[in-house]
């Protein structure tokens, strides 16, 4: 069915950052420059290792490798198919840019010696999730990433940060235990939890339903799905901005990725349809979309607004899964790309503004666009993409999702997408308008003299901002191509 290639490269891509984080921790005491350099170098090398898999993956092959067995039949295994590759590639790419961004950002902050090793370690564990060969390995890396990113969340060590971190930690444990339950149920029912075995559970039963719900809780928690999103709006804004960008841009996707694997590997489309679980997913998705977007309007802290917006956007991704057809899935995977790029642009831009001015409240940001045109330009591009204005990447993903919804015969979802676009406009446009057209004379504008942040921070933001444009301008771009193939691979186990 699948052409399998045994290769060590995925393990290397996972283990190299984890190993380097120790080196970075050791060197950080000696020299700050060396620490920063090593962090960026690690992220770059990791990205290149992932990119090196491109030709093999595009030819429709699957890379697998087993490191060692922990329990009989359960071990550390990796398996890279096209979907894994999509997520691993976008993650390591954004990680690379954020690592450059972090250098200057962290020079102002305390605890850089803690930040960088953890930052790199998280990269390794996140890639481990995306490239895991079975749910057991996935679970190990999932827990590793969740626990280690706690340190990123509470980095500021303020009272709010610790409170948000505690909430995050408890929710993470609950999610992890739900996953444990789900995985052990699957193991009991199917005798294996490998991703290479095709469908693991083919008959809906009470236990299968329990497993599905537990998976939904475990991965949905991470994905910020309603009603398990409560930790997200607290945890994402309190983290340092580069970490927020990764938390919102990448780490939320681990939940979405897990759900995709559950739908297409533990179960399959016909089982889910037969048991009507797609309806459950659809309802949750609609609530998540509307709730995230609606609450975002009421937030005036810039990063908090972005965090709520993430909840809404994750709703799109869950919706794409609920539709259960190939076109929707293309939109789904493409939206994972889009949202990763958009949200990290937004958070990094917001971080640059906060870093430069110390202002977080939206009402204080009048006229900031004139002072920091590049940063706000990138912010504008990403925000417009969020609203879904052509020709930006957000438009393309919404368009494909809507086509999928129509294919599924559920135009109501299209209405939901439109309403949410309107809401997105309501909370993003005022920021942009005020930033560029609100002068200082209109009340409390930005009175302090500011200029652009340092080039190490601007360049990643600019690259990502341009990415929003490029991935929308050219409908045949690499991300869309990958999404098409990934969707086809999940549905037909073959690439077009």
């Amino acid at each position: 069915m699948e052409t399998v290639i045994y290769n060590f490269l995925p393990i290397w891509a996972v283990m190299f950052p984890i190993f380097m984080s120790v080196i970075i921790l050791i060197t950080s005491r000696r020299s700050e420059k060396l620490r920063n350099g090593l962090s960026v170098a690690t992220a770059v090398v990791t990205f290149l290792s992932i990119a090196a898999m491109y030709p093999v993956i595009m030819s429709g092959k699957v890379i697998v490798f087993t490191l060692f067995d922990i329990l009989p039949g359960l071990g550390i295994t990796v398996r890279v198919d096209i979907l894994s590759f999509c997520l691993a590639a976008i993650s390591s790419f954004i990680w690379m840019l954020v690592s450059v961004y972090s250098i200057d950002y962290m020079s102002h902050e305390h605890g850089g010696n803690r930040y960088f090793p953890i930052f790199i370690f998280t990269l390794g564990s996140t890639l481990g999730i995306f490239m895991a060969g079975d749910f057991f390995t996935l679970f190990i890396f999932f827990e590793l990433m969740s626990l280690i990113s706690y340190v990123l969340v509470i980095h500021e060590e303020t009272r709010e940060a610790l409170r948000a971190g505690y909430k995050y930690l408890i929710m993470t444990i609950i999610g992890g235990l739900a996953l444990f339950f789900a995985i052990i149920l699957t193991f009991e029912l199917a005798g294996t939890v490998s991703l290479s075995e095709g469908t693991l559970i083919t008959v809906p039963s009470t236990l299968a339903f329990l497993a599905f719900i537990a998976f939904l809780i475990g991965f949905g928690m991470k994905a910020g799905m309603f009603p398990l999103h409560v930790w997200l709006p607290d945890a994402h804004p309190v983290a340092p901005s580069p970490a927020s960008a990764l938390l919102s841009g990448i780490m939320l996707k681990t939940g979405a990725y897990g759900l995709l694997r559950v739908i297409f590997h533990v179960f399959n489309v016909s089982v889910i349809k037969e048991a009507r679980w797609d309806l459950l997913l659809g309802v949750i998705a609609v609530i998540t979309i509307l709730l995230g977007s609606a609450v975002a309007i009421t937030q005036f802290d810039l990063k908090r607004r972005l965090a709520y917006s993430s909840i809404g956007q994750m709703g799109y991704i869950i919706l794409g899964m609920a539709l259960l057809n190939e076109k929707a899935l293309v939109g789904d995977v493409f939206h994972i790309f889009s949202h990763a790029i958009m949200k990290s642009t937004l958070f990094l831009a917001a971080g640059a503004i906060i870093w430069k001015t110390g202002l977080r409240n939206i009402n204080d940001l009048h006229g900031i666009g004139k002072k920091m045109p590049v940063t706000m330009g990138a912010f504008t591009l990403a925000a417009l993409a969020m609203i879904g204005i052509p020709p930006l990447n957000g438009f393309l993903s919404k368009w494909t999702l809507s086509l999928g919804a129509l294919d599924a015969g559920a135009p109501v979802y299209v209405v939901v997408l439109l309403v949410s676009s309107l809401l997105n406009g309501l909370y993003y446009l005022p920021i942009i308008i005020a930033a560029f057209f609100g002068g200082e004379e209109h009340g409390e504008g930005v009175k302090i003299k500011v200029s652009e942040a340092s080039y190490k921070m601007i360049i990643p933001v600019a690259i990502l901002g341009i990415g929003c444009l490029m991935f929308g301008l050219m409908p045949n771009n690499i991300a869309f191509e990958l999404s098409l193939k990934a969707a086809s691979f999940l549905f037909n186990h073959a690439m077009p």
Partner: protein
């Protein structure tokens, strides 16, 4: 010579135990080296026995050459060598840790007596693990009860004495139950050897059902008291929290488990399986274990003394072992047995880490532990590993035992118990993680003036155990192998 190794284990320990105070009269500084030497020898012999049994299969050793119906028999099988390995490794590490800690916690005059009691305790537990004779088991149970009472009360302050009297009374009650049960069994079968009893019991069950049932329930109550099965746990929090730290480590880590182990041996090797179909003994154990798991954790949450919290956590953790017994399936029992070792590692490590903190700073209150991780990163690092393992994060040994218990529960079609395991894991997280978080992050406290440096000798055992928790979390293969063989015999 090689054939005498099983009895040598006990002889070495008991012999060393009696010679320590004698030696102490002439050479003050020989007591500790002798203790360590004997424990190391026992550790090496235990490993040798694992090797021997693995190669040649289980064998019996007849004490003094007297064959079973008359003489005492030691059964050297996979189950026993597994337990020997647990006892000797943890026992040795705790004693290494105790070298410095005891000098700090105890008066000089009683120091050598501590070694005596400690060796006696380890020796008697080895006896319980090895023996194949009911009355002999009772004798060893008594020795270990007295010895553990001794290592609690040796600190001679008010709380310790109170706790040890409480323990003594309940423990004697337990021993009484066991003795009565032994008598009952002897009455109906006329034998004390496990193998002989197991052969006689099915026939005797038809003739004297009540005697056997009463004996079974007395065993469960007697050993349940000693292993602190809820609701017979009332003595444990006082005893384990007030004792010197090495005592707490060995009491929580090993002593309560050995009685659970004895119960496993009796339930699975001696009593006929049909008895469990007739009366819901196992369901009762299961029910109590669920209560233990939940109530222990809930009590642990409200404690403000760190050692007391760890003690309550032990009550919850022993619940897992009993859950493994109560589920009565292969995989569940494997999980229970595995948890004996895993919890021994985790809990003795946690108690030693707590002891290190108390040694260095004198702080016992959890609230005062803020920022301790910055001052004692290694200690709190080990504590963190222990906490993660308690919650059952994958990559730690606690995960493996939970995995097996949960699989065992599912094998029997009881997902309810999986839910209980998960709920209790969450509770563990709720009381362990805040300690870790407060230790490393948040408020910066001024370093206290009365901060003492921790000797490396005390830190090393803690770190070895922390490493063990992680290593056995990734490579539980050898342990599982041993347990699997122990189950099939």
């Amino acid at each position: 010579m090689a054939i005498h190794v099983p009895v040598l284990l006990i002889v070495i320990l008991l012999g060393a135990s009696y010679s320590v105070p004698l030696l102490d009269r002439y050479r003050k500084n020989l007591a500790f080296p002798l203790t360590i030497a004997s424990l190391s020898a026992v550790f090496v012999f235990s490993l040798y026995l694992i090797f021997l049994v693995g190669r040649k299969g289980p064998f019996f050793y007849h004490l003094g050459g007297w064959p079973p119906p008359w003489g005492i028999e030691l059964s050297v099988d996979f189950l026993a060598v597994y337990m020997l390995m647990v006892l000797s490794s943890i026992g040795l590490l705790v004693m290494i840790y105790g070298a410095k800690d005891l000098r700090h916690e105890l008066k000089k005059e009683v120091l050598s007596w501590y070694y005596t009691l400690y060796l006696l305790l380890i020796g008697s537990m080895m006896g319980i693990a090895l023996t194949n004779d009911l009355f002999n088991m009772f004798v060893f149970i008594e020795i270990s009860a007295i010895a553990s009472c001794g290592i609690i009360s040796i600190k001679e302050d008010r709380r310790c004495l109170e706790a040890s009297i409480k323990y003594l009374i309940l423990s004697v009650l337990g021993s009484g139950c066991v003795l009565l049960a032994v008598a009952m069994i002897y009455m109906v079968t006329g034998n004390l050897n496990f193998v002989y009893i197991a052969a006689e019991l099915p026939a005797a069950l038809a003739l004297y059902p009540f005697n056997i049932l009463i004996a079974l329930s007395l065993f469960i109550v007697g050993l349940g008291v000693k292993s602190a099965l809820f609701p017979l746990h009332v003595w444990l929090p006082d005893a384990h929290s007030s004792a010197p730290s090495p005592s707490s480590a060995v009491l929580s880590g090993l002593v309560i488990k050995i009685y659970a182990f004895a119960l496993i041996k009796l339930l699975f090797r001696v009593f006929p399986p049909q008895i469990y179909a007739a009366v819901p003994v196992l369901d009762i154990i299961l029910f109590l274990s669920v209560l233990a798991v939940l109530v222990g954790s809930i009590f642990a949450m409200v404690q403000d003394d760190i050692k007391r919290m760890l003690a309550y956590s032990s009550i919850a953790q022993i619940g897992y072992v009993f859950m493994g017994i109560g589920l009565f399936g292969d995989r569940a029992l494997s999980g229970g047995l595995l948890h004996i070792f895993n919890h021994a590692m985790m809990k003795s490590m946690l108690f030693m880490a707590a002891g290190l903190i108390i040694y260095a700073t004198g702080i016992r209150r959890i609230k005062d532990l803020k920022g301790i991780g910055v001052r004692m990163p290694w200690t709190m690092g080990a504590f963190t590993v222990g906490a993660l393992s308690m919650v059952g994060i994958p990559g730690t040994s606690g995960f493996i035992s939970k995995w097996y218990l949960a699989l065992g529960a599912l094998d029997l079609g009881r997902p309810f118990y999986v839910a209980i395991i998960l709920l209790s894991s969450l509770l563990n997280g709720i009381y362990y993680f805040p300690i870790v978080i407060d230790a490393f992050f948040g408020t910066k406290v001024e370093p206290r003036s009365e901060h003492r440096d921790v000797p490396a000798l005390m830190l090393v055992p803690v770190l070895i155990l922390a490493a063990g928790v992680v290593i056995f979390g990734f490579f539980p293969g050898p342990l599982l192998n041993l347990i699997e063989k122990a189950m099939t015999r």
